[in-house]
Subunit: 451 residues, 2 copies
């Protein structure tokens, strides 16, 4: 029996019926040309042959003397983790996304290992969908993506094991350390906030620094500058999931054309889409929306090479001109990166804690402060570079399904996959009407940049 580590405990403690803390992934795979009508059945049967899950998929929560621990589930029953569903006619992607939205809305049962997998057939175009949900206390987005690569293959002829049956040794090698994503940072800030709600010295210092920086550069956004917006409300327990692939060639073309990075273009697409979405609803704030974005910080003096930090990006949604928007966003991101490059790792952590404190407090205490650190989370997770096969079926889409939280009703997570960027938008269904419109607006945003 192992005590749950503090970060993962954060995810458990932050969970409420309107705020489930599981992440998910949706895979769309095309059966080989010679597949029969029972292809999905066979795929499922092959997966169900792996009756014995490996850690952490065999671990359930157990409370012992007030401490949450992981313990091996001795009554593990694969049938209550793996489900077979079918879409009703006409089985459009729309119906698939509606089903995944519904499945992602439900809490996992805490008396069992905290994961579920759904094989979904009946998609109009003959593809098979696999939706997996796993509690964030069990696995994070990056680890999930790497795990995904272990249960698929670049070889169409290969047979691969079920996700829950990958031995931990293989998995640990693939994820040598726990990565930092927007949500892990938030959970960390929330647990920090619980512990140190009183001692806010580093926070105060950093706030002063931020205000000073704001005076010298108008595009640099810091804590307390995000406007109130539609996205920053209490959320319901109902989700809406929208997903789409965008060709990497188009995005790379736009990046080259404007001497920007892939991530800059992603932020510009989001800024453009969010501006138009809020304009439609008559809800566009006068001040620019601020996104919380995990970025990779290459440090010359670092050992591991990469360091991930949370930055606040100015999405410049107050500007009508797409190029001005891109320009402002790029400058805001570069300012933040330069700033981080001058800071020690301890100072970066202090800053991140500051940035998160507002949302951390909100998440930990369930209150809604009158100010926002950011409006939306935009998270770019590295994905598999080569086309993958899932027991012979060509994987055509791999979409992340993340977590909206109180005060951040929309989460945009994306991952690269082969020749495309796969966007997964997950939001509170009640807060965000017609959320799926954002998919088209993202595309338009990309086109506006000449790609």
């Amino acid at each position: 029996m192992t005590p749950v580590n503090p970060m993962d405990l954060g995810f458990l403690l932050l969970e409420r019926r309107n705020q489930p803390m599981h992440v998910g992934g949706l895979i769309l795979a095309r059966p080989p040309a010679d597949a029969g009508p029972d292809y999905a059945q066979t795929l499922l049967r092959d997966m169900l042959a792996y009756q014995q899950p490996e850690a952490p998929f065999n671990q359930r929560l157990h409370r012992r003397a007030g401490v949450w621990c992981w313990t091996r589930d001795e009554e593990f029953d694969l049938d209550s983790h793996v489900y077979h569903l079918s879409l009703p006619e006409p089985g459009r992607i729309r119906e698939l996304l509606a089903l995944v939205s519904k499945l992602h809305s439900a809490l996992l049962d805490r008396s069992k290992p905290l994961w579920e997998a759904y094989v979904i057939e009946g998609v109009q175009d003959g593809r098979i969908a696999l939706y997996i949900k796993v509690h964030h206390a069990l696995v994070d987005g990056v680890a999930a993506m790497k795990l995904m690569q272990r249960v698929t293959s670049t070889d169409p002829a290969a047979t691969v094991v079920a996700p829950w049956a990958v031995p931990p040794r293989i998995r640990d090698a693939a994820t040598p350390e726990r990565s930092t994503t927007a949500l892990t940072a938030l959970a960390d800030a929330a647990s920090q906030f619980r512990r140190h709600a009183g001692s806010a010295k580093t926070v105060a210092t950093e706030v002063l620094r931020s205000i000073r920086a704001r005076k010298t550069d108008p595009d640099y956004v810091s804590v307390f500058q995000a406007p109130r917006s539609l996205f920053n409300q209490r959320i319901s327990g109902s989700r809406r999931f929208a997903a789409q692939s965008y060709a990497m060639a188009r995005i790379r073309d736009a990046a080259d054309r404007h001497q920007a990075t892939i991530n800059d273009i992603v932020l510009a697409m989001c800024g453009s889409a969010l501006r138009r979405y809020l304009l439609d609803l008559g809800e566009l704030p006068d001040k620019p929306l601020v996104a919380m974005v995990p970025v990779s910080m290459r440090r010359d003096d670092s050992e591991g090479g990469n360091q991930v930090a949370m930055i606040l990006a100015n999405l410049a949604t107050h500007l009508d001109d797409p190029l001005e928007r891109l320009d402002t966003t790029v400058r805001s991101v570069n300012q933040s990166k330069q700033r981080f490059s001058r800071l020690s790792q301890g100072e970066i952590l202090a800053y991140m804690t500051t940035v998160m404190a507002a949302h951390g407090a909100n998440m930990a205490l369930g209150i809604n402060p009158g100010w926002q650190a950011f409006n939306v989370i935009i998270s770019n997770v590295p994905g598999p570079p080569e086309p993958l096969y899932w027991n012979g079926a060509a994987v055509e889409g791999v979409y992340p399904v993340s977590i909206p939280i109180d005060g951040a009703a929309l989460n945009i997570t994306l991952n690269s996959y082969a020749d495309s960027l796969e966007f997964g938008l997950i939001g509170c269904r009640r807060t965000l009407p017609h959320m799926q419109r954002l998919l088209g607006y993202l595309d338009d945003g990309l086109s506006t940049l000449g790609a």
Copy 2:
């Protein structure tokens, strides 16, 4: 804005993630012979035409100054209440029940009106299923059954309205007063317990009476006599639902043959099935299982004619001989009824509170006392006497989906419908392995009584 009444508040307060407090119903309907392949689609479209729900289906919870109230949902969105699903091949009843089990496991979203409806196609035999879930704070089993009769018709040619669109006037006329069922009694006891946990005078008095009664009649079971059993544990959040119809002619024949009532035969079937189920698992207690059963008490001096009370029935599971079991159960039921017929209504309420106190305390406080008031809830709800049609489709089955609770992991609810008794068994999936076996054992139990 109306405050939630105390009974319904009980259902809201007792709800936990492992103990959702919604009830459900599963309808199986056969399309007419001339129905096309898009029959289900059309049915759904006709239902979705009723965009405006009537009370209580348009009411959502709102907390105002610490008080839970009902308020009209001004952002009602029918698409997030009505779903269209399909079973994967082969679409056996087994797959349908697995799907309903899963759907019944999920909590309702409290930011919306507390109900959902699912039209399910892809059943192997061509039938269409309708699964409706409604929070017990919105509607109880009896009211739901009467509502069901309002949204179907005895006329195959009639078109009928969607359940959520039946005007309250019609519905109120159909359910002139709130009925008392096992679960409403339990919720009431739990809220009583919260209020009067200290003043247990009536409880003590009644316990003394019960112990006195136990001395004079060995078959009469009262509070504190139920053995510990498999059924009396904390439950998980996962459900297993099993349903089957039993011909009323067979049950009536058994009743006639043994000079018993329909309800006596139902209890004997349950006793027989539970005995065998527990024997299989090596879990049969030495002492007989005790069922909590709502019974109708015909009183000569009463105005309304019927009075419902909760009795404790000795299921005589310690006896091997089916006739001896029936005999013991019948005597225990008759003893209870005679006892109630000598009591005033106030005394009946005091007794019911006593019976419920143990479970009420358990439910209200989340503790598991070392003794049981009863082992299993068996609830018989009057259903529609005539065959019904749902927009032309012949309703062939109407099954109740009720609520297992901490300490009572199995709930057997049944309702009459036309020429059959429709059993719906709902249990904690983790606590009760192979629960579906009970369906066959119920049938065997009926056969043993010569029917």
